[in-house]
Amino acid sequence: MGRLRTIGRRSFLIGSAAVMGGVAFGTYMVQAPHDNPLAKDLAEGSATFNPWVLISPEKITLIAPHADKGQGVSSAQAALIAEELDVEFGQFEVSFGKPDPAYWNHAMSEEGLPFKSTDDRWAVERARATMGGALKVMGMQGTGGSTAMADSFHKLREAGAAARETLKLAASNRTGVPVSELKTANAAVQLPDGTEIKYTELAGEAAQIEPVRFVKLRDPSEWRLIGKPMQRLDILGKSTGTLDYGIDVEIEGMVHATICVNPRQGGVMKGYKENGAREMRGVIDIVEITNGVAVVADNTWRAFQAINAIECDWGDAPYPHEQADHWTAIEDSFVEAQLDDEWRNDGDVDAASGEEITAEYRSPYVAHAPMEPLNAIVQVTDARVDIWTGHQMPIILEQQIAALTEHDVENVHFHNQWIGGSFGHRLELDYIKQAAEIANQMRGTPVKMTYTREEDFAHDFPRHIAMGRASGKVADGKVVSMSLDIAAPSVLGSQMSRVGITVPGADAQIPAGSWNNPYALANFRMRSYRAPELAPVSSWRAVGAPGAGFFFDSFLDELIHAAGADPMEERLRLINHKPSRKVLEEVAALSNWGSEMGENQGRGVAFIESFGAPVAEVIEVTQSDAGIKIDKAFVVADVGTVVDPINFENLVMGGAIFGMGHAMNCEITYSDGMAEQSNYHAHEAMRMYQCPEIVIKGLENGHKIRGMGEPTVPPAAPALGNAIFAATGQRIREMPFHKHIDFV
């Protein structure tokens, strides 16, 4: 995410003007200011009530516009509509829909402003609404920042309710029975005499009626789907190999391509030697693209073989070639001139008295490396461009490709696909642009471009590196002050620069997960420093919080130990936000915190709030001759409302595993300007034998619904580091931990 936020900022004036012009923010899309895209090509006899519900005489189609990269959001969106529409799983189809401004994401505004998520003062809520207005005016559809449920929770239920009431009205018009005497269930309107009229039978009549607008949503006590375990709609396809991801899509006449671009990212290609690649079996063409070369063949593997035969002469990278120089650039950034913002300055950290502790922390570059290597199918003709791939920012995608192929944007058609993991990489556009560059040179032919895994690593935009310099004081068994300075390149600046936008203001992701902590430390200062742009970086699951949160919580743990206090009790003493306190209390209870542990065992706790969701994790480890073994993990998270307990557990578990695995053994380092890690053997995160039992509990005390894709990632690293300290006395201040300690 992030990219929306900055566009939002730039367009703030538009948003403000909209507020003054009387646009009513806070009412949702049932009264859409954007046209309903489903109304454009509506077939005779079909009805659409809003951008999410389409009913024909044959079937019911629900539009789930948030991209599904594995987080189960297609099912969750459908469930929200179905809850109020009174249709059951199996009675409707789900479509990703076509990109459209009507699907703008209003929840992106939450993360776009420098307020703590717990801050719900009127002025803050007003600012959020204004930012939301800007996104609405721009029609910014997008998936990211764990916003899908926050964006959808009200408006999709309202969409379902409005459609239901309109269908009832159509039934009333047909039968003469008053609406108040009609009921709905199982995709049908029920008359008092028990007769049922299927929604599909009412479509034609409903289409003639102005859709009902204001509908009261059902009380949570009446929910039959939300909060109950669901069987996600893609589970059968994903368990039988029958669900097509983007990489599996076939378009008639399609050819297979792969690319090699300068692994010194952003560097030019000075020239290349084909070395007989053109004569290799199956090779159709070799074409130049920006900073690299592409092979087009009749089979993916033949394209791979040919690209490996080609020898390229690469130009220099626009960043330091050696990793050590990247770190030097970060170290040199802790200076007044590069101060990005002072996020907190409570009390007086300098005047506080006590025993002083200082420490320095590091967080490395890390790759996204989703299991499905990046790929895209593009077909360019003189009249139009069609794109089949999975992506999180469809509107920006269409704009960027239109600029590249010089088509009008309304002639660029993106067909979103199931995504085999993203972790942020599917926010980037290079792979689609590269496919479009090839297709543009062979107009008419659909080109499927697939990265080799090696290209995927070489051409990733990894998580940014960061350093934290911390100091604090302890006295009388308590933590009395803490100061944390973080220096990092701006991930938002880097990401946005690739779509031609300069980011004004401080980057809230540099200190994310640290400045917004809910502790009542009498003396607390948090400053961020903006390092120069180094290797190009991008949002990686939870963005800034996995690094900054690791620094903050690990150092807090250091201070607590120095004070001689108990890590759980001291955190509970300091925490002053009720739902966050509850999360910590629950994880203490769940993990039986304080109970006796065996020899060489230790447990650590960490608490971080990111994307509005407070999460606490306790990890237990054992030290053996072979190394550290993770025995068990406990995760408690507050999401406001759990939509599907099964999916909730999956995301929580997956986030914790992602956080632990990368903290243990993943980093991207640069040498000669190129990423040194080329495949999973050098960047494998967690495998099954290292995966502990994980006990999970979801809480619903927060007053807003939150997404769970990201917030359980950040606490995993500090909880693991704190556990290792408890077991061994060794404090690890740098990820990946395996540079300092072995794991079983």
Binding site: I235, G241, D244, T300, M371, P373, G420, R453, G654, M688
Partner: protein
């Protein structure tokens, strides 16, 4: 070259060294078997060759010629699920799901060899199959469930 794939005779005009993975995907149109790493590091391409779980990205077509190959599509179908697939659905293992064809094929081969595997055996055998969404605890549970189903069958 001729292969028996999911019980049917199939032919492909390919180089000796084209990996079976790409024969299946790009020549025979069987897309359930996934490309993940190309170097036997992730297991997404796992299929059964003469009953043995094999990384199809590492097996040359020429070496597979004449073999009896089972892919995820041949293990079971949405209408007639294999016990392992049934367990995968019941436990709702998949998130992004991209690695799951390989996980399921590996698990089915494991249960052929060891009908009642311990957690330790599951961990050892399944650790070659990478999942980046973090479904491992559910995979473990689903393997146990599948083992029970197969024993009861």
């Amino acid at each position: 070259m001729e292969f028996t794939v999911n019980g049917e005779k199939r032919e492909a005009d390919v180089e000796y060294d084209m990996p079976l993975l790409w024969v299946l995907r790009d020549e025979l149109g069987l897309k359930g078997t996934k490309y993940g790493c190309g170097v036997a590091q992730c297991g997404a391409c796992t299929v059964h060759v003469d009953g043995v779980a094999v990384r199809s990205c590492q097996l040359a077509a020429g070496e597979a010629e004449g073999s009896d190959i089972t892919t995820i599509e041949g293990l079971g179908t949405p209408e007639t699920l294999h016990a392992v697939q049934e367990a995968w659905v019941e436990h709702q293992v998949a998130q992004c799901g991209y690695c799951q064809s390989g996980q399921i094929m590996q698990a089915a081969a494991l249960l052929d060899q060891d009908p009642e595997p311990s957690d330790e055996v599951i961990d050892i055998v399944m650790s070659g199959n990478l999942c980046r969404c973090g479904t491992y605890p559910r995979i473990r549970a689903a393997v146990h469930t599948a083992a029970k189903k197969l024993q009861e069958a």
